[in-house]
């Protein structure tokens, strides 16, 4: 039963009929979300002008006075995580078509993917040893 992504199972489903409902559900969900937002905006009473002021409009920091600029310096770890995510998520994307066709590729396919995976595993081990995955320090 070789069916690459199952394209030949239901040939009557054209591109329009396959993706039309996707746009419909996105549109419907957007409608629901926007309706909730509109309800909150229209029904919610506005802030009275006399309430405006220091106490109403400062960013909430557990009740203590705000300690200055809002955009603080952030740990570089977040950027490292983002970069690692790109690397490994693309690895996962490469594995999908291979996984679907795996039973046709056999041992050769497994060996080839092993080479690819071992390169990325070395990368993971390197990051690990360098401490890129450590958040404790």
């Amino acid at each position: 039963m070789f069916r690459p992504f199952g394209g030949d199972v239901n040939p009557s489903l054209s591109l329009t009929h396959a993706y039309g409902p996707v746009f419909m559900i996105v549109g419907f969900s957007l409608f629901v979300a926007c309706a909730m937002f509109a309800l909150a905006t229209l029904m919610g009473p506005k802030v009275k002008p006399e309430d405006r002021g220091e106490f109403k409009d400062t960013p909430y920091e557990s009740g203590s006075p705000s300690s200055g600029a809002q955009h603080v310096k952030l740990s570089v770890k977040f950027y490292l995580t983002a970069i690692l995510f790109v690397v490994f998520d693309i690895e996962a994307i490469f594995l999908y078509p291979w996984g679907v066709l795996f039973q046709r590729l056999g041992w050769v396919g497994l060996a080839e993917m092993l080479v690819f995976l071992s390169v990325l595993t070395v990368c993971l081990v390197y990051c690990w040893k360098k401490g890129a995955l450590e958040w404790q320090s």
Partner: protein, 426 residues
């Protein structure tokens, strides 16, 4: 035109059910937390009819919450990005609602000959118009789920950035970083399932599981990895550092009030529902149960269908004296084998119970809903059992445990398939 009407009806039903599930889960959570942690929940809201007050076991509180949220003061921070601030809750709520588009939630419904819906086993795909109980049957299947789930990250990141609050910013960053990390483990945990099913289409995964066995039995590690990653993606309690109230007030939605906050909260609860539905479809057989076919219940044991001549001869030799076998009419091979087949059918049993079509559809739908409800219950149970993890523990679990485990799962699955099946060639 009928196609689009059907699609619209299905979409309206699914989105409606999901939005209401958020309110119902809120109630379930209150009941569960009251029971598990000895909390006294909110217990006043009631509907008064002629002086009598009906609390409906606390269900009224979910409605009261919704009404209260709508009429909350509509406050917005003075500084910060107004447009992104307003966009964030919408972006956070839409992806979880759209995820359901590719999930098959029941068997195919045949809508022609409505009169015959009530007689058993009448429909054939060739004669009847079909309504698949799935909003759309995409070729990319699971990839669509990952793409849309990935878009959910943007909502919390935007909220954190646009609120112009240190705590919000920290919460947004934590949320983005955590979800991105678990997206990797989540993506890799399904590769083993793809290797076995040889497809990424969800309806074919369900068909495979009907034909063979449930995915959880061939991919137990994959199931656990995916379930843990899915819980982490919902940012709920063991993984809720993005909104940890003891550290960040409320994380990325600190500066949101009323229904705008409610949109984040209901988005989370909808995610619980959709992740359970995805788990059910990929690992727990979707809308199937054992012996359930598109005609009803069929228990067919191997012995009844395949009888080799040797077994038949042996069986006949031991049964020629059984009542019902009339030797006086002359014993031919054909009559022997006929008797043999009858005997096997009665001894081993091939029990077939065909239902009307509507019953098959209802039971299929019920299977899906029950399994999903069970997984939702398990997720809520986990939420009220475990304490919050530290952030470094969460990142360690994602990158140093789940990711290597997912890679090992891929290798073990591959080796096992080739070792037991051999390269099948198609």
């Amino acid at each position: 035109m009928l196609f689009w009407i059907q699609a619209f009806v299905k979409i309206a039903l699914i989105v409606g059910v999901l939005v209401n599930m958020a309110a119902i889960l809120l109630w379930v959570e209150r009941k569960q937390s009251a029971m598990m942690q000895d909390r006294v929940g909110p217990n006043r809201a009631a509907i008064a009819v002629f002086g009598k007050r009906f609390r409906l076991a606390g269900l009224v509180h979910s409605i009261a919450d919704g009404i209260k949220m709508v009429w909350k003061e509509d406050w917005e921070p003075k500084t910060g990005d107004k447009l992104l601030y307003r966009l964030a809750p919408i972006v956070a709520l839409v992806p979880p609602l759209c995820l359901f588009a590719v999930i098959p939630f029941g068997p195919t419904l045949y809508i022609d000959h409505a009169r015959e819906m009530f007689s058993p086993a009448w429909a054939t795909e060739a004669t009847a118009r079909t309504v698949p109980l799935q909003i759309t049957n995409l070729d990319v299947g699971v990839l669509f789920i990952f793409a849309v789930a990935g878009a959910g990250i943007i909502g919390s990141a935007l909220a954190g950035w646009a609120s112009d609050n240190k705590f919000s910013l920290m919460g947004g960053l934590r949320a983005a970083s955590q979800m991105v990390s678990y997206e990797v483990a989540m993506g890799l945990s399904l590769v083993g399932a793809f290797m076995i099913y040889q497809t990424v289409r969800l309806d074919e995964m369900v068909a495979w599981q009907q034909e063979h066995t449930w995915g959880i039995f061939v991919q137990p590690l994959g199931f656990v990895l995916f379930a843990v990653s899915a819980i982490a993606e919902t940012k709920r309690v063991p993984f809720d550092v993005p909104e940890g109230e003891s550290e960040l007030v409320a994380g990325y939605f600190t500066e949101y009030a009323g229904l705008k906050f409610g949109m984040f909260a209901s988005g989370e609860l909808v995610e619980v529902c959709t992740s359970s539905a995805i788990l059910v479809t990929i690992f727990l057989g979707g809308w199937h149960m054992p012996f359930f076919t598109d005609r009803g219940l069929e228990f067919i044991f191997r012995g009844a269908s395949a009888v080799s001549p040797e077994v038949a001869a042996q069986f006949v030799a031991s049964h020629t004296m059984t009542p019902g076998f009339d030797a006086s009419q002359g014993v031919t091979t054909a009559s022997l084998l006929q008797h043999c087949a009858n005997a096997f059918a009665s001894v081993n049993g091939s029990f077939v119970w065909h239902w009307p079509h509507w019953a098959v559809v209802v039971v299929g739908l019920g299977n899906f809903v029950l399994k999903a409800a069970f997984l939702i219950f398990m997720q809520l149970q986990i939420r009220w059992t475990l304490p919050r993890f530290r952030y470094d523990q969460i990142m360690k679990l994602g990158w140093q445990m789940l990711l290597p485990a997912a890679l090992v799962n891929v290798l073990v699955t591959g080796t096992a398939i080739l070792f037991f099946n051999g390269p099948s060639g198609g």
